[in-house]
Amino acid sequence: MTAEATPPLVGKTEGPASAGPSARRPRASATAGYPRYVAGKLGGAAVSLLAVLVTSFFLFRLIPGDPVKFMTGGRQVSAEQLAAYRREFGLDLPMWEQFTDYCGKALTGDLGTSYQFRAPVLDKITEALPNTLLLTGTSFVLYTVLGVFLGTRAAWRNGGLGDRINTGLALTLYSIPSFWLGLLLIIVFAVGIGPIPGLFPTGGMESGDEQGFAYVLDVAHHLVLPVVTLVAVEYGQTLLVTRSALLDEMGSDYLTTARAKGLRDDLVRRRHAVPNALLPTMTLIFINLGRTVAGVILVETVFSWPGLGGLFYQALSVPDLPLVQGLFFVFAAAVIVMNTLADLIYPLLDPRVGR
């Protein structure tokens, strides 16, 4: 009885035990079509990536502005010199040839040379990517954990004071513009106001002359305020999705059964209700995970974080076509890969999906 009521943790992947909606399905049927399902999803992802490659090439050619004219801005340039520049950057070739050239190089990891920085696009991206991942990745872990935790609590005590406060606060923070909250945090916790001393740096990622462990601490110190801003603004979404998914489950018979068996409320929640309600939250988590690569332009700007968001803004304002294309491709690819990963994991969480 006890063993059945509290299945081992791995049992989560099959859904809850006898009381759960999927419990009566034989295990084999849940995974029989899985290889085909996986193949379908991977195929879909490959097609999406190809579509992104094509879109990123053509989309940014619709932006008004001749990149060669930008590069030569303010200088007198003869038609021959302009032609030489166009030749250098391959802009003189017919569109389809530029396209095949771009695709061919992209497949080998060569995303071209940035017009404004005169450096390989891949170098610029790999330079900024770790910074963005550190900021958005740390925030992602924190706001996901916080959102799921508080969302579960709020749903479980639906309508109570805790729920109302939690939901209200989450909605408020979710509606606050991140740059405004960031600036507020800078004024209060970086500059200091009244009795609150200035505890954190006002911006940047490092002081610049630290080495070894001191460097790690220095970066952690710079990380606090931007992470707090992102977590404050983002956790609400996870909270609300988790809460509503769990509310959907709460009237289910299997929960009543579980309670009737004498299980403690806390256990019914954690072992039975939450795993079943996780699917929409998982979707959101994976979408967010994909977005972490793109960074958050406004927060990166307010805290002068040297990440991809700022780079994308600079690239667009030129327009620095190779850099814009490269970044767009990386951003989109991250979302596609993460969505595919989510698709591949769903059947393990809920076998109905994979059939």
Partner: protein, 612 residues
């Protein structure tokens, strides 16, 4: 209750406590790491650091490629140019060259290179380095990217001896003491394969002979410079100069208020007002080097005489241009748009360049006079129709397309005023605000445009962009022209001033050019925006402005500000107070988190017991 559940309840408490502990630890780690970095670090190792907030990304650290202000300012600090500008009145003074003189036929210039300038790797800087720099720009297209225009009129450059540099010209050129070209060490740069791709940002310290040595760079994070102890003019007084990135202006101001940076530039009127009352901060509202103007499309054309673009035909009439000029209330632009942080515009060159500053005489001056403007339009043959709209020669109401920069709030604000002022004349105004204005501009597809340039101590460049020779060769080429002005009289004067080696006589001709430009009405210089910047007086005791009497600090012509900056004596009290604050912060943080942990634990135990 079975053992599982007992364990489960205890596990939750433990997990909660662990989470609270971890959070407290994270926060504490965050708190105990370098606090209040700038002042405290400076104190800790006794280093005096001058930190300057910058917003612009470095495009390249190669002097052959860099075009942005931040990058060229860094090159001014790290490489010597042949000449420099006097901070008092901008006249040319010795740099790497101690003397320069033209030949009788005005075609050969001989520079004496100083013998006391060393590269930071210990080698002597010689005339050969300068000759190699110029020759590379003359022969390699990649090396001509940034400063190619300076050598366009060079015939030949040689270095007959280590202290003698000879430049032969194709035709006379008065700007030979204003060659803003960083001279690089030949022995380092001759190893570069492709000048169009080498960014000079991988290996540090970078060999140079300026007042500072470039010791570190991280894209969009910082640029670090150390003083060059053997600099011939004397070493800078700060131990380090750091350009630190603040992409958001308000965050930069916050950093200045805190003391994390010593200097901030490009303040908005609101930011300047907020900083004015602040202790230990001085706001410098200095005459700027820019002009802010409204330019008319005078009918785009190429050098071969082919017309292109679609500028409004009415603007070809000088009376219409002057009427538009007259219907702009420049004082309102200063008061309302710039909120007093600008001078009213008149001539083409801002007043800070006193040698070339020109003002219209009383009879010549175009003052705000809407009635006279309406009368001028009438004289030009334009009258209002029954709806009160001014109609063109084709009978259609006139609406001008005004090209504006989408990112510039000033353009948009002035645009609104234009709609009001010109609306009274019956003229419609359509603001065409774009992120990238260069395409319609180069194609001549606009009627008027918001225009502005930073003026150099030598005005040659900003004058040259209105000569006929700056027009594109054909409509397909790109000219150096600003807005297609081609006026024979202006061109004659331009040629005269360029060949005039007597400074006073040259200034006189330049002023006549400005007068001509004013009369033709192509350019309505509305304002000279101030350079509004602020610095901490508890970090910087003194700093040279340019012009010295009441000038700006950031983006000077020369290295005066950062080279001359003197550190202020350290103040202990502020550090003490912030240390106390830090300790209070840590204690408060830990107490709150511990309290939360205990609260959750107690609460959980209570509910568990209730149910049991």
């Amino acid at each position: 209750m079975d053992t599982h559940d007992q364990y489960g309840a205890r596990g939750t408490v433990l997990r909660l406590l662990a989470a609270a502990g971890a959070a407290a630890l994270t926060l504490t780690v965050g708190l105990v790491t370098p606090l209040n970095p700038a002042p405290q670090q400076a104190e800790a190792d006794g280093k005096k650091v001058l930190t300057v907030a910058v917003a612009q990304s470095v495009d390249s650290l190669s002097p052959f490629l860099a075009a942005r202000l931040v990058s060229t300012s860094i090159h001014r600090l790290t490489y010597e140019y042949l000449t420099n500008y006097d901070p008092k009145d901008n006249h040319a003074i010795p740099g790497l060259a101690t003397k320069w003189e033209p030949s009788a036929d005005k075609l050969t210039w001989t520079y004496t290179i100083r013998d006391n300038s060393k590269w930071s790797d210990g080698k002597q800087a010689t005339a050969e380095d300068a000759a190699w720099t110029f020759n590379t720009m003359m022969t390699d297209e990649g090396a001509a990217t940034a400063n190619g225009s300076f050598v366009a009129n060079f015939e030949k450059v040689t270095a007959p001896s280590p202290t003698k540099l000879v430049i032969e010209l194709k035709k006379p050129q008065a700007t030979m003491a204003a060659l803003d070209v960083p001279i690089v060490p030949k022995h380092v740069w001759e190893k570069v394969d492709d000048f169009s791709k080498f960014n000079n940002d991988k290996s540090f310290p970078v060999v140079g002979n300026g007042p500072f040595v470039l010791t570190g760079y991280k894209a969009d994070s910082y640029v670090r410079l150390k003083p060059n102890k053997s600099f011939w003019r004397g070493a800078p007084k700060f131990d380090e100069l750091v350009f630190k990135y603040y992409k958001d202006g308000d965050a930069a101001v916050a950093a200045l208020q805190k003391g994390e940076v010593s200097f901030v530039s490009g303040l908005t009127p609101a930011q300047a007002a907020a900083l004015k009352g602040q202790a230990d901060v001085t706001v410098n509202d200095a005459p700027g080097r820019r002009f802010y103007a409204l330019a008319t499309n005078p009918g785009a054309q190429s050098k071969d005489g082919e017309k292109f673009g679609d500028g409004h035909e009415s603007l070809l009439d000088r009376r219409v241009r002057q009427a538009l000029f007259m219907a702009v209330d420049r004082q309102t632009v200063i008061d309302k748009v710039f909120q007093g942080h600008a001078e009213e515009g008149e001539g083409y060159i801002p007043p800070r360049f006193s040698t070339y500053y020109w003002q219209p005489s009383d009879g010549q001056k175009i003052t705000y006079d809407p009635e006279k403007a309406a009368q001028l339009l009438k004289e030009a043959g334009y009258s209002k129709n029954g709806d009160g709209k001014l109609v063109g020669k084709n009978g259609k109401p006139i609406t001008y397309r005004v090209l504006c920069h989408a990112t510039d709030p000033q353009d948009k604000a002035v645009g609104k005023y234009l709609q009001e002022w010109w609306g009274k004349l019956g003229i419609g105004v359509e603001l065409d605000c774009r992120d990238n204005v260069s395409d319609p501009w180069l194609a001549g597809e606009y009627d008027l445009a918001f225009d502005g340039w930073s003026v150099n101590p030598d005005p040659d460049f900003v004058l040259s962009i209105h000569t006929c020779s700056a027009l594109p060769a054909t409509p397909k080429d790109i000219g150096a022209t600003d807005n297609f002005i081609c006026d024979k009289k202006f061109d004659e004067l331009y040629a005269q001033q360029l060949a005039e080696y007597d400074p006073a006589k040259r200034a006189e001709i330049v002023k006549r050019m400005e007068s001509r430009l004013y009369d033709t009405g192509y350019m309505n210089v509305m304002a000279y925006p101030n350079a509004v910047e602020a610095y901490r007086t508890d970090q910087i005791a003194s700093i040279t402005k340019m012009p010295e009497a009441a000038g700006n600090i950031y983006g000077q012509d020369g290295y005066w500000s950062w080279w001359s900056a003197t550190p202020a004596a350290a103040s202990e009290s502020s550090d003490d107070s912030s240390q106390t604050g830090v300790i209070i912060g840590i204690v408060a943080g830990v107490v709150v988190l511990a309290g939360l942990g205990v609260f959750f634990a107690m609460r959980h135990r209570a509910t568990a017991e209730d149910r049991e």
